[in-house]
Amino acid sequence: MAVEAYDLAVAGAGIVGAACAALAAEAGLRVVLIEPADVASGATAAGMGHVLVMDDSPQLLRWTHFCRQLWLELESELPARVEFRRTGTVWLAASGGAMQQVASKAEKLRAHGVDCAVWGAAELREAEPALRADLEGGLYVPDDVVLYPPAAAEYFVNRARWFHARMRFGQSVTELLRGKLRLSDGSTVVAERCLLANGYGVRQLVPWLPLEPRKGHLLITARMTPVVHHQLIELGYHDSVRAPGSHSVAFNVQPRVTGQLLIGSSRQHGVADRDVDWTVVQRMAQRAREFLPSFADQPIIRIWTGLRVAAPDGLPVIGYCDEESRTLVATGHEGLGITAALGTAQFVVNLLLGQPTPLPAEWFAPLRFTGSASFQELHCD
């Protein structure tokens, strides 16, 4: 039997791996996608499914704006199942002085060409009457999107198939060899290059990357008449404490097409187990009830957890992680994997084809961590 040789083997059929596989196959590369479970069964399924602009750092602002633009351009091609909706985001000014934060956020976004509008109390009340009455206002970002990530990932997988990509489901990559990979069933796959897009799993093959898990909880209500119309996020969402083992909770809800309300969000730094932590759930429920007092009676039908993966500088980790430029990684998107999927695919394919990346490659290069303690432990004994 002839051994099939690929230009690119992608590990992980989450939304990032699937989008990368699709774009690489479309660019004419011979691609194989390797996934141990089902399409989108990891963080892609566990997350909220937002495509939004974040302004935590200038790099992140440029990155998320670029990535969102790619989604907006793809909108007309996406099947209805993806539930792509420009709900927009409303950043809520919850505390005294928060309106000042709203103003400075608006200024930052506008400077980068991101459309947004400052809402006073009256406008906010008119747009989202279910919110508690004493909020001072908020910042409305109209082009942010809410979608259903597993269906989007499946769309990319089908697109990759359409461009002749092969699938190896039920297998995981256990070892990186020169020019090939070993899979969990002992077989090998011959591939010129390999992309590791399996989230927190990347650390098993590239242990020196300083990746931190951040466990998050989500709650979902039963179906109901829609009463929330935008994605709602409490301003100061990212001001959370970042000490290992600490956890933070912020109000973040999304209306789903089904009429359900998805309620977030929590971050537990350095926690990689998947158990439901009821004290965290309690704080999330309290937060949601504070902002949406009339929701106290809404039944919660499911509670689950997922793992975000973060690098110490808060930026994604995309690029080659070896000197020979054989192995790439695409991980560390923290809570922005869905937002970043298309941008990451573009970034990866440009690297593979030797073309300039949409943003400076060194921003996200894994080799930026070669000075890190974990790298030195492994390589400088």
Binding site: A37, D38, V39, A40, S41, A45, R81, P150, A151, E154, F169, L219, T221, A222, R223, T258, I263, V276, W278, V281, Q282, A285, Q286, A288, R289, F295, A296, D297, Q298, P299, I300, I301, R302, I303, W304
Partner: protein, 448 residues
Amino acid sequence: MTEAQVELLVVGAGPAGIAAACTAAESGVQVAVLDDNPDVGGQIWRGEKRSAPSSLAAPWLERAAKASGIQWLTGWAAVGPDGPHALLALPPGGGQLVRVAYQKLVLATGARELFLPVPGWTLPGVFGAGGLQALVKGGWSVAERRIVVAGSGPLLLAVAAYLQQTGADVVLVAEQAPWSKVSRYAMHLLLTQFAKFRQGVRLRRTVRSTPYRVGCWPVRILGREQVEAVIFSDGVRRFQESCDLLACGFGLVPNTELGELLGCQRAAGRLAVDRWQRCSVPHVYAAGEVCGIAGVECALVEGQIAGYHASGNLTAAGRLCRKRDRLRRFAGQLHQAFALRDELRSVPDPHTIVCRCEDVTLGQVREQMSWRAARLQQRCGMGLCQGRICGPALEFLFGWKDRSIRPPLFPVPLGALADEMSPKSDLPSSEKSPSASHSECSTRRLSP
């Protein structure tokens, strides 16, 4: 959230739960029994406290009423485990969640009906056989309604007899198992369990004017606004039966969800237990239908074994093991006799709804490779019942296991999850506190 502590927590107040609670309490163990029904008795002894209890139920209900040291938490809904030694529960009428800490746990969560999708099964007027019986026990009148009882197992005859006695016109009892197997089982009962045989004959006599047809199964349910008729097949011919209501029951499914959330191993659709009714998780026992459908006598014996063993009385527990094994063997014969036939897998068509909560059809589900894919891509099992109905059906149709169980076990209002713990000083301390690790939380004696 408030906190309560017990030595032994029993979940489920049916025969197995009652037996476990009584034996443990009589050995001096402090016991709480939690059940979401308003009364003790479970599904099988529902309402027996009010009417005249059966000869099997009466002594146990009496013993349960007499036993001291049992707190009956009826009307309480289990929400989910909080670590290996505590369960969150919602008291009747809602309000604050209570964290019930325990040293040992007995899962006596029983079973529910197996529903298999049949074209038309979402029409009003189609019920589970046990479900319809429960409704009628609860006061719903079916007097003079024409009812077809279909599916499989001895429950069909019991339900038909009950409905007939309450004034219904049971027009047909349709058993999917073939005559050869049903008659062999009847012969087996006659020779080995005469009381059971006599009970069957008595039931049959109650509905003697109703045809009992074996070897046939529903293939389509007809009706515009509600069920009007059912088409049956015997594999060769089809026939139609008009009716106002259809009671369908294809057997029972163990309620393993809480056990699975606790990490207990599942085997062949039930919780796996050892000789002492212990699950794969230390300090967790399972008794009754949750570890395999075997009937009320077996549930009582298993409950006692669990209760005795949990209270350290190994001798008493050991004495019951042979009886349990014998009852389990009988149950095995029952399962063989009423095993579901392969033809039932081809009854639903691609347009038949499988997941009733999310309106997912068989055709949509069949495209997927696994439970997880059907859940993620089609939302199968993601609605209000969280796959309790479609999960077992798909396990039968496609052999899909590993439905992902997530808390809460039942929908819980957001407000209940949000409520603060009561201040410590408000509540008296529990007399016995098996675990010191939760000393920060307030404790109290449970009261039903």
